[in-house]
């Protein structure tokens, strides 16, 4: 898994989290995107929605499956990726950058400490 960003933190349910100051960006991993096959729709919360850690924040539909999306951090949605509405395939083609889903403003100074590191996530995926 050469393409798993080392500075991101992960949930076992395949969401990645990136911390920039007090903003956490969330998306799903390439492993998850490959498993889903072509993503056809991503249901995201409205800006302003409060999200609790380990709760569902959205849903993802692909040609093969439907699955829930979870956040590993608590916070308020300040931005969602509007490009996914017309181009959900970004999740397959560029899951760690253009295929991001939501940005959360967080109050916890160490919001990702309990999440998996890239090594731990890889180990759980059997890679």
């Amino acid at each position: 898994m050469a393409n798993l960003p080392a500075n991101y933190r992960y949930l076992e349910t395949h969401e990645w989290h990136r911390l920039d100051g007090d903003i956490v960006t969330i998306g799903i991993t390439q492993i998850a995107a490959d498993e889903l096959t072509d993503v056809t729709f991503v249901a995201l919360p409205k800006v302003g929605t409060k999200i609790e850690a380990n709760h569902k924040f959205g849903e993802i539909d692909s040609v093969k499956a439907n699955s829930d999306l979870y956040s590993g951090a608590s916070g308020t949605v300040i931005e969602i990726n509007h490009q996914l509405a017309d181009n959900p395939g970004l999740v397959n083609n560029d899951p760690y950058e253009a295929g991001w889903m939501i940005k959360l403003q967080v109050t916890d100074p160490n919001p990702l400490d309990k999440l998996l590191t890239s090594e731990q996530y890889q180990a759980k995926m059997g890679h």
């Binding site: 096959t37 056809t40 040609v63 397959n92």
Partner: protein, 367 residues
């Protein structure tokens, strides 16, 4: 241990994502389901369908035997003709949907991989209990089968394949030789496109792919490999049933809209209950649905009208051709008219849907 088709090495070398399908290790896709779907509609794709069952029948009672187990009358079927038909249980439920073809010396049945063992046993039981004189040979694992489908396929392959493919009509087939090898070429398919399905000896599959493989791998190739994922989205657009979805032991062919493949005047297994259903019409019937938005209605999704549950989705997908969420569903017969408004309960998200005509996609007639 999963079974592997004679094309397994090719799938691995072409980078396929492999999945368990009915006990076979099969390609789900090579590049992406939507990419392969669009390639099939635009130009051409090659699908490994070697997992499907291939049974041969010979002997003096083949015609009365097939007329006993199949819903369609095979008596008038000529050499070189194929027919879609159903195998029913005594209650009129569908045990399998198959294609039966009459060759010079034998008959060939292609059945679903998931039903092969059940069908072989059922046919053997009927032969024995009703004393039919014929041989049934399962040739699935000594042969391979590919489906090559798409608008450019016939022109591209006409000079390569044995027989005169250009003049062959839909549901006709020819058996010929190429390099001293027997090939059977059928003008049929499961995608809504024109094309062929080819049966060849298993030992020839590796060599065929060594010759073709490099060509198929080119991004601009006319014909590229495609997996079961695209096969499913293509057949849904074409409104074709899939066993386990639109057909099962508890679904009868009349409800599934297959009355054209059922001859109620002959005495096949399951005919009596089907005659009863035909008198009043089925309670629920298969329809096409278009849903608002981009969410997909999966198998089992409940359909509502006026607050009551009136049906259930059997297959659904995102249609790459129509750019719409589409589904096939069984709904109460009173609600099957086109434009009827229904509500699909997608995990709590109530989504408007309307009944539309099947198929969702029909290819333009050639030339």
């Amino acid at each position: 241990m999963l079974k592997r088709t004679p094309f397994y090495d090719y799938h691995v070398s072409a980078g396929a994502k492999l999945v368990d399908f009915a006990g076979w290790e099969m390609p789900l896709h090579y590049r992406g389901i939507i990419d392969e779907h669009e390639q099939t509609r635009r130009s051409g794709s090659m699908f490994d369908v070697s997992h499907m069952g291939r049974l041969h029948f010979t002997g003096k009672d083949v015609v009365p035997f097939l007329n006993r187990v199949l819903t369609r009358n095979v008596s008038a079927q000529k050499v070189g003709q194929s027919r879609y038909s159903l195998v029913c249980n005594p209650s009129g439920g569908v045990m399998d949907d198959i294609i039966i073809s009459r060759d010079q010396k034998n008959w060939i049945m292609v059945c679903n991989a998931s039903n092969r063992e059940k069908i072989v046993k059922h046919l053997g039981d009927v032969r024995k209990t009703e004393s039919f004189d014929l041989d049934i040979a399962d040739q699935t694992e000594s042969t391979a089968m590919v489906a090559i489908q798409g608008p450019e396929v016939i022109e591209k392959l006409a000079d390569v394949l044995p027989g005169d493919v250009r003049s062959m009509k839909r549901y006709q087939f020819e058996t010929g030789s190429l390099m001293m090898t027997k090939f059977t070429v059928f003008r049929s398919g499961y995608t809504g496109e024109d094309g062929v399905e080819v049966i060849l000896p298993a030992r020839m599959a590796g060599m065929a792919m060594k010759m073709l493989g490099a060509k198929l791998d080119k991004p601009d190739a006319t014909i590229r490999p495609a997996g079961l994922g695209a096969r499913d989205t293509l057949r849904i657009e074409a409104g074709m049933p899939l066993y386990g979805h639109e057909l099962s032991e508890t679904i009868d062919p009349l409800s599934a809209g297959l009355e054209w493949a059922v001859d109620l005047t002959k005495n096949f297994i399951g005919v009596e209950p089907l005659r009863e259903i035909a008198k009043t019409g089925p309670k629920r019937k298969l329809v096409g649905l278009e849903l608002e938005g981009r969410r997909i209605a999966r198998q089992g999704t409940a359909l509502q009208a006026g607050g009551a549950v009136v049906g259930e989705v059997s297959s659904g997908t995102w249609s790459p051709t129509l750019q719409k969420s589409i589904a096939m569903a069984f709904v109460d017969s009173a609600l099957t008219a086109e434009e009827t408004a229904l509500i699909a309960d997608l995990k709590g998200t109530l989504t408007p849907a309307k009944v539309v005509k099947l198929p969702f996609y029909k290819r333009q007639p050639h030339g």
